[in-house]
Symmetry: C2
């Protein structure tokens, strides 16, 4: 079935029919704007991410269900990095002519399945035609009491630096996708990253992180943001970066420097955070208690921006700039 | 200057440097998410609109400054139609390689100039590369106490129907742009529509409208939305539609049926609303008091969906469907 057959309002109706009520939604899809009830005493957290076909995703690598999940996951990850509770989302789509309605059905099913997992309700958005590829824009709203919101700028010398889960998998997965693989742990991590919402909430609830960010541009670049905004440096040990067994097995076969891939590979959507000295065990205990692995990778310092020490004691040179989205401009 | 020279963070820094503080913003541009303080007792109103090059705008018709204004104006209009006070916005851009930084400077200057007029602060968003044209996605947050929020579904038989300003101008302007004109009242109305925020707030504050919508798809289509959601019909008089002197002079030269253009032409971003019988003078007085012209165009009925009477008493057949964004699908 083609979109032209059902029109914009047909498409919106198809999406709205899948959305449950409740969750503080006074007015959902179908009016000029959505209306939602804030939880008294909280501040509104809001984040937007745009995913563009040919830039952020390749329809020969992924399927619509997982694309829908990932489009929300990257936003959930941002709310998680603030220590917030996600609540409502707006979805805007620019849709190329000829994209089957069934694709969009599976896309919204994927997104709404992940939304359900985290108690998030779709309340609005926009749909229109795209002359070129599919463009997805998601705005996600979350909440937290102001004293528990975690920023990027609070890291202090002596703080210990932690990262949840494992890093480098998503970058390895993208490389494997480019080489033709379509399955396996790393590919799955790239196509359907698990947002660390519960970890972010648990850490914020305990008032533990002095600074937190999600790993979207890579450990080195994202830690760099914390350092810059906090006005501090850091020393991390490349040998301590948490690597999955899959990464340890496959990364050496597809790239010359696996340690560098783990340090600079993006899109893992793990949480990277700093904790005051003396509270490391508390952080580890909280996350272990909810089944989230966590690893200490270094410490905040007064000097430097960032020093990375390799297993053999040498220092690794790492650009702090991260991925330049516009570097391929002519 | 090219975007590749300054990178994503350079661009974000350029935009952030133009944004003032205050307005309940705890965390603005530069963290994982924005954090804003809701006004106690209000609900959050949220709307998103996506503008796609080649679909919603043509860079040979407009300039970046007015494009920036319009990208926000269409969202302000949605908040106005809820009777809300706009407060914070998120801006996401997918930017084609080679678009000059100066274009984006002017674009954000236009958007922020309009934001300032309405006390709105830019708090976040996203920027990325676009393989094809420019894509703009704006999410706007507003507020209102729940009892004063105006929906589309409250129109009742006997209510009088009003529209602010004049209609048909923007559609005429688009036609003139296609014919090569680049100035004049109608072209200006198409490129830089004035959002009716103050009118929406004044009407909502007085508890007057039983239903309200902004005229984005045309009077007939947008009134159709109110009728459908309210479960009522309407009778309007085509001869009473408010037309600008410019429209009266130029429309007959560029289209065969000016009355139909006024009835179905989109993008005027005027407010269309219904008021209980007996309170018409109050509505007129409130809007006249803030300098907003308003015209009664008909009444809500029990029957029909929509009956339009021409000046000569004949009924005009009008499709209620409005513009089908996907109708050109192959």
């Amino acid at each position: 079935m083609k979109l032209g057959d059902i029109g914009e309002f047909g498409l919106i109706g198809r999406i709205a029919g899948k959305v449950a009520g409740g969750n503080g939604v006074l007015i959902g899809i179908g009016d000029d704007a959505a209306a939602t009830e804030p939880t008294p005493g909280t501040v509104l957290l809001a984040t937007s991410d745009m995913l563009v076909e040919g830039v952020h995703f390749d329809l020969s690598f992924t399927d619509p269900f997982r694309l829908g999940r990932k489009s929300l996951a990257v936003n959930l990850s941002d709310i998680a990095a603030m220590g917030g509770m996600p609540r409502h989302l707006l979805l805007s789509l620019a849709i190329p002519p000829g994209l089957p309605v069934e694709f969009l059905d599976r896309f919204t099913e994927g997104m709404l399945a992940l939304a359900d997992e985290f108690g998030v309700t779709l309340v609005g958005g926009d749909t229109c035609r795209s002359p070129a590829g599919l463009v997805i824009s998601v705005t996600l709203h979350g909440e937290q009491t102001p004293d528990l919101v975690v920023r990027r700028n609070g890291a202090r010398p002596g703080d210990q630096i932690f990262v949840t889960g494992t890093v480098g998998d998503a970058a390895l997965g993208l490389e494997l996708l480019r080489q033709g693989r379509r399955d396996g742990w790393a590919v799955e991590r790239h196509l359907d990253p698990p947002p660390r919402v519960r970890a972010g909430l648990a850490l914020a609830g305990a008032g533990l992180p002095t600074a937190m960010i999600d790993v979207s541009d890579g450990v080195a670049a994202d830690l760099g943001h914390i350092l810059e905004l906090s006005g501090v440096g850091a020393r991390i040990d490349a040998g301590s970066l948490p690597l999955s067994p899959y990464f340890r097995e496959h990364a050496p076969r597809v790239c010359a420097d696996p340690a560098l891939l783990a340090l600079t590979g993006g899109e893992d959507y793990e949480l990277l955070f700093s904790v005051p000295a003396g509270r490391e065990a508390e952080a580890a205990s909280i996350l272990t208690g909810i089944g989230v692995p966590v690893t200490s990778i270094g410490a905040i310092t007064t000097g430097g921006p960032l020093t990375v020490t390799a297993a053999d004691g040498r220092e690794i040179a790492v650009s702090r700039g991260g991925f330049n989205h516009f570097a391929s401009d002519p």
